[in-house]
Every structure is written in C-alpha cells, then in structure tokens.
Point group: C2
Chain length 760, copies 2
C-alpha cells in the first residue's frame, strides 16, 4: 500500500505499478540469492530478472537433477550392462539429456551478461562436456555401424555434470578446497613415498637372498617393485601379519623391522595426512565461506538499495524500507510462510517499532529466513468434539492420564526388549510365530491409544519423526505378515523376499529405544545435523566412484566371471584359468568384478574399506597385467587418503562445534523476541508428550484470521536444523568469522566495497 | 656478596652464611620444581629440603627407572620364558627391585609432611603394589616348594610402578584425562554397541535360514553371538569383503546391508569416537595444564618470598631480588649453564637495568630456564693454527670454497641417488660388490673434506645431528664391510648377521637426502618436536601391553607351538590338533603365540594393527574356549578405540599448532633481547654450512673469562625443542590459556590465592 520510491530522481515520474513490481522482483532475486548463497551475477534488466527467478524455480532444479541422474544411470544399460539395451536406445536417451542440459545452459546465458558467461569456467566446462559427448556419440555411432571396435570414452565426463551445473556449488567448493590443499598434501605424500622406498630397499636387501617363501609358496620380497607394493599394502594394514610372518618365522629380530615400519608409516604418517588434509581443507573452506558471507551482505545491500525510500523530511534521514514493501518482499521470496511467522520476523527486524527497517536490520533478513521456526497450535481432539460426553467421562480421562504417564512408555520399552528376545528365537517354532501376532497387536494398540489421547493431525505432524516411524513400520509389518501367512497357508510357499522385509521391519522397530534415552539423543541430533553436509561428500564420492567404475569397466570387463549356478566356492577359478589357485578365487571373490556398473560400485566400496584390496588388486593384475595395480593404488590415494580423511575431518569439526558453541547471535535474538511476545513453547513441554497435543504448521492458513490471532498459537525455533548446507558451513566457522564480520557490520551503513562481487 | 634478608624480623639476628645457604636451597628447590613442573608439597625444613634436592638428582631418577625396567624385564626369564632361569633367581632380583622402590618411597616420605604422604593416592598405590607383590612371592614360593600349582598374579601390577612413581606424572596425567573422558566415550560406545546388536539381529534373520556357507565351508550367521562377533570384526574392517561374499553371491541386494553397516559403524561411529576422545582428552588435559601453570607461578612466588629483600629506603618500595642472589639461584638450579647464558637471562629479566628483579619478572625465570639457548662460538681451524702457510694458500682456499659451494652438496645428492640404484642391484655380481667400495671411499672423502673445511669440534657439535649421523653410518659400514669381506675371503663363510647390518647401514645412508629438501624438513621438525610427548604414549602403551601380555601368557601359554625345524607352513597344525585346517594354521601364524613375553608383544602389536585379528582370536578360541574372544575384544577397545585415538588426536593437535601458532611471548622476548645485544645468529647462516664453523657449547667454561667476553660469542634459540613434555603441553594449550593467565598475572604482585597448592 505504501509506495516504494527509488532514490533515482528520474524514476519518480515513472512510479507506476509495473516499476514497483519489477523492483520487487529484483529485490526478491537478490534476497533469495543471499538466502541460498547463490553467487550469480545476473543481469538486472526486468526481463532477465524474471528469467532468473524462473531459472531458480525448485521444479526446474528437480528436473535438472532428474536428467543428470538419468544420464548417469545409462551405465546400467550400456555395455557392460546390468540389463542389455541396444546402443541406439541409450544414445537416444543421452541425446535427450544433452538437450536438456543445453537448454538449461542457454537459459543461464540469457540471465547473466555475456562477458560474465564466457569468463565462468563452469560454463566453459559444461559446453566442453556437451560438445565432447556429442562428438564421441557420433564417432561411436559411425564406428559401430561400420562394425569396428569403438569406445564410449565420454562416459567418464558424465559425473562432471554434477560438478559443473549451477546448483553444484557446494561440490565445486569442496573440490576447490581439495585442489588448494593439494600442494601441502603432496609434500607429505612425497616424504611418505620416500619412506616406503627406503624401507622397501632395506627389505629387499634383508629378505631376498634368504630363500624365504610366503604362506602361498611364492618368493618373498624377491624384486623391488613387488617389495614396494607389498609395503604400500602394509601401510593400509591389509596384509598385516601375513607379510611379516616368513621373516618373523626365520628370526624374531625381523619383527622389529615391521613394527618400526608400521609405527612410522601407518600410525605416524597416516595421522599426519589426516592433520594436513584437515587443516588445509578447513583453511580454504573457511576462506570460501568468508567470501560467501561478504557476497551475501552485498546482495542484501543491493536489495535494500532497490527497495529503500527516503524519509518524508527530504534526503536528510537514513534510507529505510517500509513495512509494506518488506512484507511483500518476504511473501515473494517465501510464499509458503505463515502470516504469524512473518510478523515475528518483522518484530525482530524492526526492534524499536519504527514501522520501517534500516540497512543493518534489513541485511539480517537472509539469515532470519534461514532459521526454521515451527508454528505450534493447540487444537481439541476430534473425539472431544464428536462425543464430548464420552470423551470427557471419568474412565476416558483416566485412560488419557494412564497413556500419558511415564509408566506407559516404560512398559512399552519392556515390551520392545521382550520382543527383541523373541525375534532372536527361531521363528519356525509355532509359539514364536504366534507371539509375533501378539506383539503386532500390542504395537497397534499403542498407536491407537496414543491417537485416542493425541489429536491425530498433531500426532502425524512433520517434526514428529518417531510417530511416523512407528506407524509406518507397524502398518507395513502388519501388511507384510498378513501377506506372508496368507501365502504360507495357500500353498506352503514362502516368499523369501516378503519374509526378508518382515524381518527387517521387525528389527527396525527396536531402534525406537534410542530415542527414549536422553544421552543417546544428543549424539543422534549431531549426526542428523551434519546429515546434509554429508550429502555433499556423497556427491563427491559418487563423482569419483563413477569415473573409476567407468574406467575399471573398460579395463577389466569380462575378465572375471561369476556363475550363479556354480556350486562350491573352492572349485571355482572365476571363469579364468589364470586365477586358478589364486587367493582371489580361493576366497570366492568372483562376484567382485567390473562386469556391470553395480558390481563395480560394490567392488569400489570394498576398496574404500581397504581390507583385502591387495587380493582384489592382484586378482585383476593376474588376469590383465601387473600395471593394473596402478589403478588400485590411485583409487586408494584418491579416496582413502584424501576424501575419507576430509570426511573424518568434517565429522570431527562438527562434533567439536557441538561441544564448544551453542547458538548464533541471531538465533538467540529471535528466541528472545519469541519469549518477549510470550509466544514461546517451553523446552520441557516439547520434550514431554504434551507437545503432541499441538500441531505444527509451516503452511498455516492466513485465510482464517480468527485463528491466527488465537493466543494458543506458539513458536519454536527448530534450532537443530539448517535449511542449507552453506548455513551449516557458515555456522561451523562462525566463531572465527565473527570478529571480521563485526568490522564489516560497522561500515554496513556505507557501501560494501567488494568489487569482485559487484553485479553488472 | 650482597646479603639476602628474609622479611621475618627475628631472622635479622641470625643473618649468617648457614641461613643464607638454606634459603638458597629452598628457593632452588622451588624453582627447579617450577621448571620441571613437579608438584610436590615438600617439607620446608632445611633437612627436608636438602633430602628433597637429593631425591630429585638425575642419577637417582635414572637408577629408579633402571630398576623398574629390570623388574619389568623379569618377564623374559620367568615361566613362560625366553631364556629359562630358576624361579629363585628371578625372585631374588625382584626382591632387590622391591627394596629399591621401598627405599625410594621412604626417602619420599621423609621429604614431605606425613599427612600429605598418606593422602596421596600414588603413595598408597605404591605401598599396595609392594605389599601385594611380596605376599604373592611368599605364597608362590611356598606353593612351588610344596609342588602345588602356583600363579604369579602380581606380575600384572608391575607396569603400575611406572604410573605410580613420582616421576610418572605425565603418565598419571594422561591416565587421569582418559578416566575423565570415559563417561562421554561410554555413551558413544553404548550407542555403537546398540547399533551392532540391531544389525546383528537383522543379519541373523536375513541369512541364517538361507543355508549359506562361508568360503571355509562353515555356517553363515548361524547364531547370534557369532553374528555379533563377525559384525564387530567388520567394524574393524578385518574381515571386510569375506563376511559379505556369501550373502552377496546369493543376491546382489544384500550388498546394501553391508554397505550401510560399514558406513554407519566404521566410517561414522569411528569418526565420532575420534571426535569424542579427542575433545574430552584435550579438555581435561587443558584443565590439568592450567592447574600446572598456576602451581608453577605459586612455586616461583614462594621462591621469590624466600629470596626477596626490602629496598634500602624502609618498607615502602616493592620487594625485589638482587642480582647476586638471582645469579646464585640460577647457578644452583642449573650448575652447567654458561656465564654468558646467565647474563643473557638476567638482561631479559632485568629489562630496565635496575640491578634487581621484581616479582613479575622473577616468576618468568622457570619458563626462561626451559628455553634452550645454544651458545655458538667461532673458532679457528686447527690446521690453520698448525700450518697456517699451507692452510691459507690459494689452492687450499679454493678447495674450501669448492666444498662450501652448493654444487658440492648437489654432487653428493647425485652420488647418493646412483648409490641407491647400485644397492638395488644384485650384490652377487662382482662389479656391484666393487662399486660398494667406491661409494664408501666417496662418502669417507666427503666427511674428510668437510672436516678439512670445518673446525672438527664444530662439526661434531651436539646439534649437528646429520654430521653425526653420516659419520657413524659411514664408519660402521666401513668396519662391517671390511669384516664381512675378510670373513668371505678367509673361508667362503658369509655371516648373515654382519651382512644384514651392512645392508641396513647402506640403506640408512640414503635418508640423508631428506634433510637437503626444505619442504620435508619442516615436517620432520614437527615430528621431532612431538617426539618426547610420544614417549608418554609409549609408556602408556607399554603399561597396557604388559598387563595384557602377562594375562595372555597365563591364559594361552603353550597352546600354540612353533617349531623352527618344521618345513612347509601348509603341513603345520601349530602343535595343536584343534587347529588342523583352521585359517590360523593355514596362514602360518604359529609363531603368533603367548609362549614368551617377546612373542606376546609382537602378537599384541599385530592386534593393534587390527588386520587379521579375528583369525588370531578364533585361533586362540579354538585351542581354549569361545570366551577367549573377550580378551581380544577388550584389547581392541582399550588400545585401538581409546589409546590410538588419543595418539592420533595428539598428532593432529601438534600439527594444527604448527600451522597456527608461531612462538611464545617469552621466546620472542628472549630473541628480541638477543638481537638487541647483537648476539644473534642469522637463521640463514645457521641453515647454511657456515654454522658448522661455530661450536655449540652448553657447558661453556666460565673459568676462562677472556673467552666469554669475546664478541664472536653468539646465541641462538633452539626454539624447536622443549626440555620437558610439560613445556610442550603448555605450549599446546597456550593460546587458550593466555587469556586466563593474563588475569592471573595482574594480581601476581599480590599473592597467589590457590590454597590447594600451598605447601605446609
């Protein structure tokens, strides 16, 4: 309703609805970018802004990721395939995917200025990937048609799509941090390799001439390359006592050589690797996050400039944003936000009740939007409305009290324990089989009783994870058990699959005990909190795995065969006479092959776990060439030494944070405000079952004004969750960043002098 | 010469030499305690102080540790023994050791007040250990004489001596920190165990009825206890792909179960363990170090009170310590300190040149004494003195310049590289055997040339580690090679032992390359810096290993036998028919037994490395009872989950420090002073070979005053070394402690109000 005016004098004449709308769109693009830490230098023309808002639509992003996954999953159908499809079919799908990516890229090119587009490496990479894939497809198609040998080498490029799409910024950041940390890692790595080389030389001189044999009867440390490989494997402890035994059997003193080796290379060097990776990764990531925070402030300042209006008394006062434009901005950025929630955010921003916010308060908005606030509302039980006389009778109220009593929870904990014992017993005994029905009934009864006490919509609120968990598990178990026993009765046939599902569901029910014990809950919460960040690592692992799987399939496909019909594992030579008598065949590793992408992934997981990787490696060297070891060593260095260490570092950092920090400033400000307005929900009430009596609604209906002003409306900060990974990262380094940001905030009234983030 | 006066008025009459001497002794006891962070509440009577100084003599401590090691090493001769000795012989030696420990304890009891003595748990522990050992020896002797079965159970207590002697304070601190961190670790551990139990139950239900067989033909997940054990082993990754293969062969989907299991339990839970152990250990250690710093200040304040004198003008000014008593104190605390070094410390303490130090400056003394300062002195070459005409001739000077040139070092690096290649070649070829002589001559020549250029005493200075290293290695190699070829020529006999030593020495020579490359040197320095602290972990490991070795020997001795004469490893059943066909025997692990303490230690190292520990564990369960697994799981939890994690945490912390902090305040103050006095040695000069032209002497002769005032005398702070582990620990937490200590320092002029550290 209040008109927003731009500081530009000429614009005064054009103050019409259209320009206002355009300003709002521009501002909301800035705010949304700030909220999700996007760093896109989009064109500020109204058309580009509208395109940009379209570009950032959730649906567009979901579709993009769907096509990326589709493109990646083509490996399932391409040779060597899980399910064979003709090459033209997979290539048609790939062409479709390429079209989608190209379209998305063109859309992006329309949004940002041309010179920015061509300067951005991720766009160049994207174009290169698309072009190379197309070339490869044409060449492959031609060669295939001519009946020549052809290789689809561009499949290696597919996972790079995940890195180079606009939305892959967390992944790009992780990779940049690794790249920056590489020189330091390399130094330690060289020293480590030097140490291995020296020890290998010593081992060669000490053992090669002694005529020792390994337990497999092979020569022991007979040449330098083998010695280096054996000792490299020893660093990973995979061949730990075996490699030492022949020398140890020959003389006890040789044990000392191996003990010193393990102390130096496994314990000390591996710790040093962790330290160096941890430290450097953290350092560069911190720097990145610092830039991110700056860019966010800068964006919010731009949004402020767009929406600001001079105070009535001429140009003297501070520029401000009025409540009306602020509200429209918030509604446009987050259309699903409840009115009460908006009011709350406004009251935090406009602390002194002046009806407008200045720049400093406005800049906070992006962070405020990222704090998840739950709106809780009490609501009467439907039974209480339908037949109040019955529901409020003395026996009914006694029942409610009973169900809400601690003893009820304890009783069910005991039942779960007893159930655990029964699950452990042999289910072929009829008594055990019948007991399962009894337990199912008991669990169903629990859910029904709880539903009797609690308002159903509150019971199944979004944040009541364990209620959902219980109900789904119990209902599924009921359905599966019924189907299973029906099948069993019908023809004595037991479907193994359904039985498996029944078993898994039964055991999963037991997990609920964890939530009952408070000291376990804190650890679980920390783990849940770092969950989204772990997803970034998941993507990183996926990229590396995919590349290695594709290369591995080209190198090793069909060399090792696994026949399902094959009887004893001892008899097998995995379809390759070269493997006869090898440890690989003897241990029954035939299914660890590269014959399709799923098997390859499982094999790579085994290599990540490290143990027995030397057996796998020597198996594949035996069927190809000794140099195949290089593939396995490279995988070990990339995944185990670098990526797993970063993963460990991240978990460490997250836990240290849990122990030291508590809440961000903004969090506590918001909480204070909630308390001031007497809208808070006591923490105890939440942890109690009482909270089930309230309903969470992020999508509260503003249509019913009588309800939203109800005093029973309450807020709670879901402080344990972060909407975006960036928010978690920022929080990880908040303690270190705060000082600096404080300095920034002082000149926040001026302009954010950071030229590198100025959008054209 | 200046008389020191105590503030006590009565003491004025007795100002004689004796009282002064006593004061000095008391003060030096305090300062020495502060310097080495001893926290002993000794009696302040002159007799007790003198006894206390005696108690802290280096020789007494060395003797004590010698007897502890002797006591521990008795396990070598006791049944099951490496070298058999009759029981009376070992018991006599043990009795001698007990006497020494008792004597030391009595000495300690004389030094500190009686009530303090009996309140200290370490003394009670010590008395209990001695008494229990004595009782055990008597009982064992009686039973042995009567021919009954007897058990020397008190051997388990022996390593506790290391913990409970006064000097074991670092070890006690580490153990206290672990004990305090246990509750937190336990919470994670319980959750971890719960997760294993749930997964095991699921595995039991999924796999037990499928009739699957392991590659060894055994039943697969057939009962719950085995399932739990197998999955516990999987957490350590020791049976990684093997345990999964039967299920994976049956259906690819089962791989998912194991992948989820490994992700949750190996990757996430093990990282959480590291995080929790790291965080808690650090927290409690920091608290301990904080108390330590306080106690140190308190001790220094006491020493100040003893030595202080009122200024001439009545009681108005601040109390001070005169230069004379300060010097006598320093000389008494550190008799081997050079006069120049003392002067330097004084000039740092008495910053404003007032001829006396106040309390704040005096308190710093303990830290100043802990900073290692090297005194460097230039000295002419003896050849230059003996035949100056020749040594200063043009060719000689050219030679010197050549040797000092970079190219000389590079040339020798190339020679080392070529040597590495030759070492790798087969030494049976005559050409290779002769080349070894050539390399020996080249290395000898290098040392001689360097000695020609550098003053010999400087060349072999204490801090020139690599010169010592080179010379020892080359000379030893020369001697060993000569002996070896003499033996070979004499009768064609080749002593394998000597040849082994020759080989090791040859390879060790190559290590020198590391020191030439700068980026490697920083890592090496950090590793060397944390060396002493790693020794504390070494002691901790020794204590745990010894206890487990003794228990293991009682449980498993003689069950598994290794016969040296036994030919093929495949044929063996390790002397026990129960092991026939087991993985233990097949892999040739017969020498991994508990038949003597050395074998037991090697076996425990293998268990620490973790890989194949399940084979060892099931081997020993097979020959005894399934419950033997408990021993192995307990060892895993104690050593791998707790102690190794603490070790990793310590290395991490030390490296983080290396990257963030640089120098302590006191260090830089001292360095500034050295620079001011123009006594510094440029860092470049040190890193260059030029430094070899100077001699390091910590034990400089103050007898020759003409030399010590020579302007060529120079200092350098050996900032990379710490005299005591406590100093390193303090430095580790310095950043966190500084704030608080700053507050302390403000009321340092008052009294140190810390009642718990007041000595009676």
């Amino acid at each position: 309703m209040t008109s927003t005016s731009r500081p530009d004098a000429r614009a005064c004449a054009e103050q019409d609805a259209k320009s206002q709308e355009e300003d709002l769109e521009l501002a909301s693009a800035y705010v949304s970018d700030a909220q999700y830490n996007r760093n896109v230098f989009f064109d500020t023309s109204p058309r580009a802004v509208r395109l940009y808002l379209l570009y950032n639509r959730r649906l567009a992003q979901v579709l993009l990721y769907f096509f990326i996954l589709l493109d990646l999953s083509l490996a399932l159908w391409e040779e060597p395939a899980v399910v064979h499809l003709p090459p033209w079919a997979t290539m048609l799908v790939e062409l479709l995917c390429l079209h989608v990516f190209a379209l998305r890229l063109v859309h992006y090119a329309k949004v940002i200025p041309r010179d920015k587009f061509w300067k951005d490496p991720k766009n160049i990479c994207m174009i290169a990937i698309l072009a190379l894939t197309l070339v490869d497809m044409i060449v492959y198609g031609a060669l295939h048609a001519a009946g020549c040998y052809a290789l689809r080498w561009s499949r290696v490029l597919r996972p790079l799509l995940l890195v180079n799409v606009t939305e892959g910024r967390q992944l790009r950041r992780a990779i940049r941090s690794i790249r920056n940390a590489l020189p330091q890692i390399l130094t330690v790595f060289l020293l480590f390799i030097f140490s291995i080389l020296i020890f290998s030389l010593m081992a060669l001189k000490l053992f090669s001439k002694r005529g020792l044999k390994t337990s497999e009867g092979a020569a022991y440390f007979s040449n330098y390359a083998d010695a280096v490989f054996d000792l490299y494997v020893l660093v990973t402890t995979a061949n730990s006592p075996d490699v030492m035994m022949p020398a140890y059997d020959a003389s006890s003193a040789f044990a000392l050589f191996f003990i010193v080796y393990i102390l130096v290379n496994t314990f000390i060097f591996m710790s040093v690797f962790l330290a160096v990776v941890f430290n450097n990764y953290k350092k560069y990531l911190k720097e990145e996050v610092r830039l991110l925070v700056r860019a966010k402030r800068h964006k919010m300042a731009r949004a402020f400039t767009v929406l600001q209006e001079r105070p009535e008394d001429g140009g003297a006062g501070e520029p401000r944003v009025s409540r009306a434009s602020w509200s429209r901005l918030v509604r446009s950025v987050q259309p699903d936000m409840g009115r009460a929630h908006t009011e709350l955010l406004w009251s935090v921003s406009d602390d002194r009740n002046r009806g407008a916010v200045d720049k400093t308060a406005f800049v906070q908005l992006a962070d405020l939007l990222n704090i998840q606030v739950m709106t809780l509302k009490s609501r009467p039980h439907p039974l209480g409305r339908l037949c109040p006389a019955f529901y409020r009778s003395a026996p009914s109220r006694l029942l409610c009290r009973l169900v809400r009593h601690r003893a009820f929870a304890v009783a069910y904990d005991v039942i779960i324990m007893i159930n655990a014992v029964f699950i452990g017993l042999d289910e072929d005994k009829p008594s055990v089989a019948y007991s399962e029905w009894a337990f199912l009934v008991l669990y169903l009864l629990e859910i029904l009783l709880k539903l009797y006490v609690t308002e159903p919509r509150s019971f199944f609120a979004a944040h009541c994870f364990w209620n959902w968990f219980d109900t789904i598990i119990v209902v599924c178990a009921l359905v599966a058990t019924v189907i299973n026993s029906a099948l069993q009765k019908s023809g004595g046939y037991t479907s193994r699959q359904i039985l498996d599902i029944v078993f898994i569901l039964r055991v999963l029910r037991l997990i609920r005990v964890v939530d009952r014990i408070k000291r376990f809950r804190t650890i679980m919460n920390t783990l849940i909190r770092i969950g989204p960040a772990i997803l970034t690592f998941g993507q990183l692992i996926l990229v590396v795995y995919y590349v290695f799987a594709v290369v591995g399939m080209e190198l090793f496909k069909g060399k090792v065969k696994f026949e399902e019909e094959d009887g004893g594992p001892a008899a097998a030579d995995c379809g390759n006479p070269l493997l006869r008598g090898s440890a690989f065949a003897r241990l029954g590793y035939c299914k660890n092959n590269f014959n399709n992408v799923l098997n390859a992934f499982v094999l790579l997981v085994q290599l990540t776990v490290v143990n027995q990787w030397h057996v796998l490696s020597s198996g594949f060297s035996a069927v190809t060439h000794k140099s195949a070891r290089i593939y396995f060593v490279l995988f070990h260095i990339t995944v185990v030494i670098i990526i797993i260490n970063i993963f460990v570092a991240f978990v460490l950092e997250a836990f240290f944070l849990e122990y030291t920090l508590d809440k961000s400033n903004l969090h506590s400000e918001l909480e204070k405000k909630i308390e001031e307005l007497q809208l808070g929900v006591a923490q105890e009430a939440l942890e109690d079952n009482l909270v089930n009596a309230m309903e969470t609604s992020d999508q509260e209906q503003p249509a019913d004004p009588s309800e939203s002003v109800e005093p029973k409306l309450m807020f709670k900060i879901a402080s344990k969750r972060y909407r975006t990974v960036d928010a978690l990262l920022q929080r990880l380094f908040e303690a270190d960043l705060e000082q600096e940001d404080g300095d920034d905030a002082h000149d926040a009234n001026g302009n954010f002098a950071n030229p590198s983030f100025g959008s054209a």
